[in-house]
Amino acid sequence: MPASTKDAASGMGLTRRQVLWKVEVPMAVPEIIAGLRVATVSTVAIATLAVFAHGGGLGTQILGEANLKFPTTIVISGAIVIAMALCFDAILLLIQRLLTPWRRVRVV
């Protein structure tokens, strides 16, 4: 966050709270979303472990006793989990684009 941006904002008469919500938070959106994306993707992947807590989920397919000599279910369940994680990732990316319209403007 460049100090000059903050100076400009307070120079325009924004209060400290306004600077936070109207300048700092919007400017920080890409970083915030980047953190959220990492957390979301790993959480979706780790949620397969829910099966150990009898929580169900795709982990059930992976850990099923019949699967231990039969990789197809593991591969498919794993692929679904990855696809799901990437979908969540894409949604967050979309949200970021919607929240930061100024980043889409091409500077000529």
Binding site: V51, F52, G55, G59, L63, N67, I74, G78, L86
Partner: protein, 243 residues
């Protein structure tokens, strides 16, 4: 079995009971008066967990650091580095470990391989970003002083990227240590033994295992933080202190 029901306490456990389990042997739930728990077993399992975690961390570093440093140095391949970082995190460990176990069998090798996959994304991304964000002026100065590309990387970019690189290694290590708990699936006895073996160790054993894993992850984190402090160059520390 709904998700909500699984979150409610299913069996009698308490923190007191868990600590008792850690420090003194308990009679197993399995009939026959078998003794479980106690500090000896805890330390033995913890040692295995530390061993596989360190091996996995080293393997992950061996793969991720050169790649991240190289792309960061060249200033290209951002898509590859960040892409691998993101996609790698999406791989479900459970599926990976089941699949690798099918292909190369159970054992420590399988475990280390899967855990290393878990450590690669943060280390790769942070190494790349760390080198990439080094002040271009410093790099230009080093080049002007007649350093070759490799010298620039080793003497300028690497020292300046240490904080970022170490942050990646710390993140990866916590992931690896915590996930090493699924080791019993491939026949390696780590602290996960307690966590996955409620039938044998009881609810207190599960909680005890979780506590021990958390402590272990913190020890790794603090140890690596101390290492980061030592590896960070004096000049960089002064710069950080004044910033």
């Amino acid at each position: 079995m709904s998700l909500l029901a699984s979150l409610l306490p299913s069996a009698a456990y308490s923190f007191g009971g868990a600590f008792e389990f850690i420090f003194s042997e308990q009679t197993s739930n399995v009939t026959g008066g078998h003794k479980v728990g106690g500090i000896d077993q805890v330390l033995e399992l913890a040692a295995t967990q530390i061993e596989v975690s360190i091996l996995a961390l080293l393997l992950a570093m061996l793969i991720a650091l050169p790649v991240g440093l190289y792309f960061g140095h060249r200033g290209s391949g951002e898509l590859v580095a960040v892409g691998i970082g993101n996609a790698g995190r999406a791989i479900p460990e459970l599926a990976a470990i089941a699949l690798v176990a099918l292909v190369i069998g159970v054992g420590t090798g399988t475990l280390v391989l899967v855990l290393a996959v878990l450590g690669i994304p943060p280390i790769l991304t942070n190494a790349f970003v760390g080198v990439r964000q080094v002040d271009r002026a410093s790099v230009d100065a080093a080049r002007g002083a007649g350093m070759t590309g490799f010298e620039v990387l080793r003497k300028v970019e690497l020292p300046l990227a240490v904080p970022s690189i170490m942050q990646g290694i710390r993140g990866g290590s916590v992931n690896i240590v915590a996930t090493a708990s699924i080791a019993p699936l491939v026949g390696v006895a780590t602290l996960g033994e307690f966590i996955l073996g409620e039938n044998v160790y009881g609810a207190n054993g599960v909680l005890a295992g979780a506590i021990c894993v958390a402590i272990l992850a913190l020890i790794f984190e603090f140890g690596l933080a101390a290492l980061q402090k030592r590896l960070t160059s004096k000049g960089l520390k002064l710069q950080q202190a004044s910033a």
